[in-house]
Symmetry: C2
Subunit: 252 residues, 2 copies
């Protein structure tokens, strides 16, 4: 049994809490947040606290707080030489105060308040500065996920950056598509099966192989027609840049 103390009350903290509670191999000993309000619902299941001096002993302390808060919170911890990890994709493990043994437990997924998450499908990237801590962290990760991977800082940074592309930028592309259809009174809903299929396709095929369309074919007639139809200069700029990008990738 691995004992865990959770710090923070955002989406990552809450989803982690639920995943740990559902696991037979993990016990959440305490849940700290600077304000009790967001975690009050759970007070009958777990000890909740807002006084950092009351933190007890545990195998792993998880700082599931915003990037900017990690360093300061870690320096306020009232103990030394225990095992402390953060959950950020972009913060260095060395940003955790060095009085404790440090590591990273980065779940690579988008978490929203409402949607439930099947954690068994969430990749978790692990890093420890003290070699002997890795075994503990791995046990914790595999207790909730089937996709656990040791990554170094550069690899984690590149995954976090790539995640911004496939999550935030892709979502913005959907948004632009929404604006384009709406401007002609067409329904964005009609695009939803295509959105899903595009994401499914690259689950077993490289994006390189999966590519189709006018840019890949260098179909100048269709490209010209599309650019003419785009009224919004900003949409036009995105169309041009990504068309160039596809041409470049496919040697056009």
């Amino acid at each position: 049994m691995i004992s865990v103390i959770l710090l923070g009350a955002g989406n990552v903290a809450t989803h982690l809490y639920k995943a740990f509670q559902a696991s037979n191999d993990v016990t959440v000993k305490q849940w700290f947040n600077r304000s009790l309000k967001p975690i009050e619902t759970y007070k009958n299941e777990v000890e909740i606290l807002d006084d950092i001096s009351q933190l007890t002993e545990a195998d792993i302390y998880i700082l599931a707080v915003s990037d900017d808060a990690i360093s300061e919170l870690s320096s306020k911890l009232p103990f030394e030489n225990r095992f402390v990890v953060h959950t950020s994709g972009s913060v260095n493990a060395y940003d955790i105060d060095k009085k404790n043994r440090r590591g990273v437990f980065y779940p690579l997924q988008t978490f929203s308040k409402s949607a439930t998450v099947d954690f068994s499908e969430v990749p978790i990237c692990l890093e420890t500065l003290v070699k002997t801590d890795y075994k503990t962290l791995k046990s914790l990760a595999i207790s909730i996920s089937n996709h656990v991977k040791r990554v170094n800082s550069d690899q984690r940074a590149s995954l976090h950056l790539a995640a911004v592309f496939v999550n935030n930028f892709t979502n913005q592309i959907y948004r632009v598509a929404h604006e384009i259809t709406e401007s002609q009174g067409a329904e964005f809903d009609m695009l939803k099966p295509l959105i899903l299929e595009t994401a499914k396709k690259v689950q077993d095929m490289s994006p390189y192989k999966a590519q189709t369309g006018p840019a890949k074919r260098n179909d100048k007639k269709t490209i010209k027609k599309h650019l003419k139809a785009l009224e919004n200069e900003h949409h036009k700029a995105i169309y041009n840049l990504l068309t160039e990008s596809i041409k470049k990738t496919h040697g056009r």
Copy 2:
């Protein structure tokens, strides 16, 4: 029972053929292609032909050929005043030779040779120039799909253009993410659950509401870190443009 004659042998034609064959309401009377080779596999199930003068009668003739071939093929049809549709998202219905009654049967999905398609989930956009033909075309569409919609030319053009965004451009974003992870020896595979989740999220939530991340938060520190990490100028340009686009959308 609706009788159909299919012309063309590309991905759309082949997937349509299979969907029609699986339906109890449609019979494919003939399958024409200028070369028999790609459709020879089906010669025991359907009459295949490469001589256009041998086309027989049917309720609907479907020109499932490339955009550039539609006009010419339609003018070669050896009959008049029959119902002829094309399957293109971007070609005008008026491009079909006017000796026949014209329409559009546009399935809004990405088709690849290998992957099987569940046509019941594919939206089909319909347009007819002769009003009385609509009923026939709708019957054909609902025999294979649960998402049938009448759209005018402008709406269809905007859907086709938006489809390039959510399919080709999104896929290129995946490709860039692949390049970013590979450059640091990280695994693109780790991003696959996030790719799927991002597409699933907008099935019930608008892309506007689904957005998260550094650009939406206007988190300058992370954005700066990302831009520094991006070595490829082309990737940097995409990062900048889409970050600006998100900021604009969310009033940052």
